[in-house]
């Protein structure tokens, strides 16, 4: 299932209030920083939805 990120809402690490909170909060390693942006590794996602709930920009939703 994984998640999807709305690129218009996402702060792209640099403008994220906590510089990539989703990357930091995902303990599955399903969200990683890649060239100053967030990349999704779908097969690692466990659908715990922690990133969805905690994204300060509400940029993440279920795929």
């Amino acid at each position: 299932m994984a998640v999807k990120i709305d690129p218009d809402a996402c702060g792209h690490i640099e403008n994220c209030p906590v510089q990539g909170l989703c990357v930091k909060i995902c303990e599955q390693g399903a969200l990683v920083e890649e060239n100053g942006d967030v990349a999704i590794i779908a097969e690692k996602c466990d659908d715990c939805d922690l990133c969805i709930q905690n994204c300060p920009n509400q940029a993440i939703s279920k795929a």
């Binding site: 299932m1 909170l21 930091k24 909060i25 599955q28 466990d46 715990c48 939805d49 922690l50 709930q53």
Partner: protein, 338 residues
């Protein structure tokens, strides 16, 4: 932490202490003007974000004090003309206690070890070991070869041997000493000594009637300010010396809805475990399990759960003396569950 004030015919100050806050969000639930906001509890609990759990909009706050009365953990306090409303007769009061009965406490310290909030002040004075034993010990310097067998084997660490010269003119400057405050006259040193240099006699049994059992004194005290009423201390106390009243009665359940894929993700998430101020949540076989003995029904985990599958149902709360009908109606919303 914040302090906001309103000057007028009365001087009102609302203050918030983050160190007392558990992130339950009760204050923001009851605020009639929607002026309190609960921050991102999971990232804060994990140390990813440093900020207070609760923030206030000073422009819309009515300084009514409902949050201060509803907070079971003393994180919010409204003062009117410098007097806390918790001290005023007309305002509600939590009828809860966290008390250690000094007469029953034996100063084992187990409460102190388990308290998840470090809210227990504990200290004890144990008597000198020498007060509990009788005996004699003497080491014959002439026979001793400073092999350190005795010092290495002494279970009480009572023997100090100096057998390495500091300088070439120090070759014979050996010494062996017994610390009589530590020696229990067990005789291990005497038995291991290859030179039969140690004389030791234990007379503890012989004098057992004469040896008074010294009293262990101490102090165990629960800091009310930071106690979250989890009951770990009272549950673990072997002497039933601790009384803890929880602020709420009720239940907390995990209600999974498989059709909507709302299921507990256990170790992947563990948000509930991270935010629980009571250490009442564990992940067992991939699912969150809450031990209600230790849960204070604060509901911090309910808000934190990204699957929204935790249901707290509070059936009673120990907040008494609620005189205002409108306050009573708002506070009652805490009882029907979230």
């Amino acid at each position: 932490m914040f302090n906001i004030e309103r000057k007028g015919s009365e001087y009102r100050v609302l203050s918030y202490k983050d160190q007392n806050c558990v992130g339950c969000g009760i204050c923001s639930e009851v605020c009639p003007t929607d002026s309190l906001r609960l921050g991102p509890t999971v990232p804060i609990a994990r140390g990813l974000i440093e900020m207070d759990l609760v923030s206030v909009n000073a422009n819309s706050c009515a300084f009514c004090g409902l949050c201060s009365s509803a907070c079971p953990f003393g994180a919010l306090d409204l003062t009117i003309d410098n007097v806390s409303i918790k001290e005023l007769d007309v305002y509600p009061k939590w009828n809860v206690e966290c008390i250690v009965n000094d007469d029953d406490c034996v100063y084992c310290g187990r409460c102190n070890d388990v308290c998840p909030q470090d809210s227990i002040i504990f200290k004890r004075e144990l008597p000198d070991r020498s007060a509990l034993v009788r005996g004699e010990i003497d080491i014959d310097d002439e026979k001793c070869i400073y092999c350190s067998f005795c010092a290495d084997m002494c279970p009480a660490g009572a023997i100090t041997v100096k057998n390495i010269p500091k300088a070439s003119n120090d070759v014979v400057n050996n010494s062996i000493e017994v610390d009589l405050s530590k020696c229990i006259f067990c005789g291990v040193c005497k038995r291991i000594c290859p030179e039969n240099a140690i004389m030791e006699v234990c007379s503890t049994c012989m004098y057992s009637d004469e040896i008074d059992i010294p009293e262990v004194t101490g102090e165990t005290f629960i800091v009310e300010n930071t106690c979250v009423s989890c009951s770990w201390c009272s549950e673990i106390c072997p002497k039933d010396a601790i009384s803890i009243t929880k602020p709420f009665e009720g239940n907390l359940e995990l209600v999974e809805i498989e059709e909507e894929e709302k299921i507990c993700k256990g170790e992947s998430c563990h948000a509930c475990q991270d935010v629980c101020p009571c250490k009442a949540v564990e992940i067992v076989e991939g699912k969150s399990v809450t031990n209600l003995d230790f849960c204070n029904l604060c509901g911090a985990c309910v808000t934190a759960c990204p699957q929204d599958i935790r249901v707290v149902s509070r059936t009673a709360m120990k907040l008494e003396n609620v005189n205002s009908k409108s306050w009573s109606e708002i506070l009652d919303t805490l009882l029907v569950g979230k």
